[in-house]
Amino acid sequence: MSKQKNMTGQIATLKKVMHYLKHYIPILILSVVLATVTVALTLYFPILTGRAIDLILDKGNVDFPGILAIAKEGVIVIGITAAAQWIMNMCNNRMTYNIVRDIRRDAFERIEHLPLSYIDSHSHGDMVSRIIADVDTFADGLLMGFTQLFTGLATIIGTLLFMLFVNVKITVVVVLLTPISLFVAGFIAKKTYSMFQLQTQTRGEQTALIEEMVGNQKVVQAFCHEKEALGQFADVNDRLQKYSLRATFFSSLVNPSTRFVNSLVYAAVGITGALAVILTGGAFSVGNLSCFLSYANQYTKPFNEISGVVTELQNALACAARFFELIEAKEEEPDAADAYQLEQADGTVDIDHVYFSYVPEQKLIEDFNLHVQPGQRIAIVGPTGCGKTTLINLLMRFYDADSGHIQVSGHDVMHMTRHSLRKNYGMVLQETWLKKGTIRENICMGKPDATEEEMIAAAKASHAHSFIRRLSKGYDTEITEDGGNLSQGQKQLLCITRVMLCLPPMLILDEATSSIDTRTEIRIQKAFLTMMKGRTSFIVAHRLSTIREADSILVMKDGKIIEQGNHDTLLAQNGFYATLYNSQFDQG
């Protein structure tokens, strides 16, 4: 059952691969034609040598003009074969790498248009490995399939045809013997499968242990736990040795065994061929025998290769299924064709009866209402993990509300292009994200045509100018991946500068909790204040001063908005906010 399911799955994947192949059909046809030519000529060459050998009988009995004629033909055949083979390989390369490029391009484009919910709920490492490692394995398999599968099959069929043409009986002997090779290989593969499984399983167990103990080596050392860890490791390691030895040894039997079967075929051809020469009285010549012997070699080889290619192709298909899963993930709903273009928001935000949850079973935001006048400050307060980012997700339309309406400047955000909505928000998150590139590129992200003066003015306003100036190359300093060469505070200042340069009418700010040193924090605070002047702002707040000066405070807990009001009214309510507020002064 499951095997059948597997098969249909593979066929479905294959169809999708075909879709990519479609654009390269002329090259594919050329490649197949060239492969046929190559195989036919490769098989023809032993006939030529056979004929030449027949011209070499014994002392004084050699037909040199005949050999010369054959040699001339041989040179032409070799030339054409080599050229055909070369062009065929080039075609295969071109097809494979272009297909791979197309797949990567599509996969990446999909990532850019996936709903945030997909990106949030899937491991990034896994997605990256689908686009990189899986596509790579697929490319290898595909290339091998192109170059070896078809030529292998053609060689087998071609050899059989040529052999039949020359001598039927010997061909029958060869055909009868070959299944042994397949049988032996199949038998060994089946036997080794369970051993490989044991090896894989133990390897997995060991990797998990390594990840734990090496990944957290500092804890291991702090508890002087090295000996125990090593003991545990040695145990798995010894088991792995046992299973590995079995798996490695038994799987390495395939080659000698098939080679043995090949030798048997070779011997059989030798005997029957030699007998045929005697019995037919030379009608089947020594040259024919030599030709058959080289066929016997050529004919068995593709069998071994094809079994390798098939595994490789199955592997490739399994990988293909993984990246197609990504390519086919549902895109976020595109903007409607007549979606409204929000030019310059006036700063009013109206949230009416909004319901939202990430998973239907777990209700989060229910019947949420909030009306923000232009220039107002809204503080969002609550313990860590209370779901403050949910609100940001809804405002920015990273996620869409399940029901209810959010209006900006009197227009429903659902009927607005995401592009124009997001353009009106400036966002500074606590988890700073910077692009690999120069500081300048990062700052000018939202306004690529900004002048030098504008950029420096923004950096000055956000108190980032002084530290940037001190960097070795100033604004042209390269930021390594994820800003490894900057401190957390500096990164945050850059993110603020980035927004400062565009200064959209509405802001979403995430106050730092504690990861930043006091001085920088004061600077960031000042930068925030400059930015907020006259702008509607939503602040995930940790500082009492920010909270107290907010026009409205949203208190969140466990993903829900449980209280709403300003500082005094909330304190008067004596609810969660009051507890939260007072707990800071609990002396324990």
Binding site: I53, I132, F223, S257, T518
Partner: protein, 596 residues
């Protein structure tokens, strides 16, 4: 990957090869049996020649059957030899990798924190897993093929000489020609493979960046530009891949041309020799067969060399780790006794520098801690708070000055003795696969269940453990996936308490706890038996304000030391931090140190 430059590949994994010593017998026997097999393979063309020259020429059927029997026998012996060789090779290769893995694991366990910081754990894990696997298959292949292929190539040539010297001269020309083609294709393409790898890395970097930064990229409406950038590096990758492809596709046609031209030459020269009666028709066929054998083996050899190259690269990466010397090791085998006095921990003029940093991370720190005191350490990120406490269990060594624990310099303790006295709860809460009880017993394998529960109560984790099915026997998954951050944090605190250390260090390890739980935790810690010395590192003044001494760190320097009240009086930075968390009027309301 910054550290990659630090070690320049030295030699060819020489240090690793000692792990093959124990398998010397296998390392000799495996290639030997392979050579035997190859020798039998080399005899086959001669047998065929005999069939043609004697069997067919004399119409001797029984001779043909006899020779056919010889061929089957040769194949059988070949099979037996080959299986024996495979066994020895597998045994040596697997045994080798097992030993290397063990050695590497135990070496990594010895590395000090600063080596772990520079090398990074993710690359260590790759080295322990895929690199070792690659080396294993490299060793296996070398034992099986490295001697066999050249042996067949040269063997075929020598056999050709035994048949006819003139014809054999064609072999002498062909073999170097083929080798030049095969190896120059390889030489040109291997560096290009590295370029392909870099191209892949670029594409990978782009993808990763766009996943991690999805929010910001969308907020700035940058999707289209990012796609354009990605397509550029993608196209570059394709270009390089095609270039490599174009070069390696040359190999097959070129070798085909050479070998078949050589066959034509062999037939021509062979014909001449037959004409003058030097050799027979069957021997010409044997010469042709030898020529075909050479090509097969040369291609195998080329593939083998690629595998070996990879294996050596991996082997060198493993060797680099093995060559990394732990900076912190036992300098004494027994603790030197000295007058312990009443000071439990003493820092005098301590400076410290992280490996690879130009500047000191700590400068001139002085601190005297009496037994039973609680010390609070506060300051911003990067101010050096954690560095201070990391020096006590010698996770790092001082660059200047000294630290004494119970009157003895920390460097004069055996590491295990020193660390046994100290319980550390690190910033990142880490638990291991296993039951809660197993995890808690890390610091004290003999702890009774009662002791475990006591520690759990102290760490405010009773509700966590009781809430789990099976309580203490609840199985924690790898990385503690089935626990929340706060739960993990409390259990790591309990783990340190079970150890019952004299010095307990909490390195910002209550950050996920709410204020009330944090306060209860501190109260419980104070009531612990045995007059423990406690260090609390925190960003929150509320966590440390009742400590006996508070050390205020800023930019690697101690800018204040004293009680909460004293510091509010005379330490501006402490006041700044405090005020940013508490407002003046709230202080008054709470009767705190009023006048600021």
């Amino acid at each position: 990957m910054i550290q990659a430059n630090k070690y320049k590949g030295k030699g060819i994994m020489r240090k690793l090869l000692i792990y093959l010593n124990e398998y010397r017998k296998e390392c000799i026997l495996a290639p030997l049996f392979k050579l035997l097999e190859a020798s039998f393979e080399l005899i086959v063309p001669l047998v065929v020649a005999a069939i043609i020259d004697h069997g067919i020429a004399a119409s001797n059927k029984s001779y043909i059957f006899k020779m056919g029997g010889v061929m089957v026998l040769l194949a059988l012996i070949g099979l037996a030899c080959s299986i024996t060789a495979q066994y020895f090779a597998a045994k040596a290769a697997v045994g080798f990798s097992t030993k290397v893995r063990y050695a590497l694991f135990s070496h990594i366990q010895k590395l000090s924190f600063s080596e772990m910081d520079t090398i990074g754990t993710s690359t260590l894990i790759t080295r322990m897993t895929s690199d070792i696997n690659q080396t294993q298959s490299g060793v296996n292949m070398v034992l099986r093929l490295f001697l066999r292929s050249p042996f067949i190539v040269f063997g075929a040539m020598i056999m050709a000489f035994t048949v006819d010297v003139k014809a054999a001269l064609i072999f002498v020309v062909t073999i170097p020609l083929l080798s030049v083609v095969v190896f120059s294709v390889m030489l040109v393409s291997i560096p290009l493979f590295k370029k392909v790898q870099r191209g892949l890395d670029e594409v990978l970097g782009h993808t990763r960046e766009n996943l991690d930064g999805a929010r910001v990229i969308r907020a700035f409406n940058k999707q289209e530009e990012e796609t354009k950038d990605f397509n550029e590096s993608n196209a570059y990758l394709t270009k390089i891949q095609m270039l490599v492809g174009r070069i390696s596709t040359l190999m097959n046609p070129l070798t085909y041309v050479i070998i078949n031209f050589a066959i034509i030459a062999v037939i021509w020269v062979g014909g001449r020799q037959v004409d003058i009666g030097r050799i027979s028709q069957g021997e010409v066929i044997a010469l042709v067969n030898y020529m075909s054998q050479i090509l097969v083996e040369l291609v195998k050899l080329a593939n083998l060399i690629i595998t070996i190259n990879k294996a050596i690269a991996c082997g060198n990466r493993i060797q680099e780790v093995l060559e990394t010397v732990p900076t912190i090791t036992d300098s004494v085998t027994e603790t030197k006794k000295s007058a312990s006095g009443e000071l439990e921990v003493e820092f005098s003029h301590v400076s410290m520098k992280y490996a690879g940093n130009a500047q000191d991370s700590l400068t001139d720190i002085n601190l005297k801690v009496k037994k039973g005191q609680t010390i609070g350490i506060i300051g911003g990120t990067g101010s050096g708070k954690s560095s201070v406490v990391n020096l006590i269990p010698r996770f790092y060594d001082v660059s200047q000055g000294s630290i004494k624990v119970a009157g003895t310099d920390v460097r004069e303790y055996p590491l295990a003795d020193l660390r046994q006295r100290i319980g550390v709860v690190m910033q990142k809460a880490v638990l291991f696969q296993g039951t809660i009880a197993q995890n808690l017993r890390w610091g004290n394998p003999d702890a009774t269940e009662e002791q475990l529960w006591h520690a759990i109560e102290v760490a405010q984790a009773a509700d966590v453990v009781k809430g789990k099915e099976g309580g203490l026997d609840y199985v924690i998954e790898q990385g503690g996936r089935n626990l929340s951050g706060g739960q993990k944090q409390r259990l790591t605190i309990a783990r340190a308490v079970v150890k019952d250390p004299e010095i307990l260090i909490l390195d910002d390890s209550a950050s996920a706890l709410d204020f009330a739980t944090d306060a209860r935790l501190r109260a419980a810690l104070r009531n612990l038996q045995g007059n423990k010395t406690i260090f609390i590192v925190s960003q929150r003044t509320s966590s440390i304000q009742f400590a006996d001494q508070i050390l205020v760190m800023d930019d690697g320097q101690a800018v204040g030391l004293g009680t909460h009240e004293e510091l509010l009086e005379n330490c501006e930075i402490y006041r700044e931090i405090y005020e940013s968390q508490f407002k003046k009027e709230d202080l008054r309301k709470n009767g705190g140190a009023g006048n600021v």
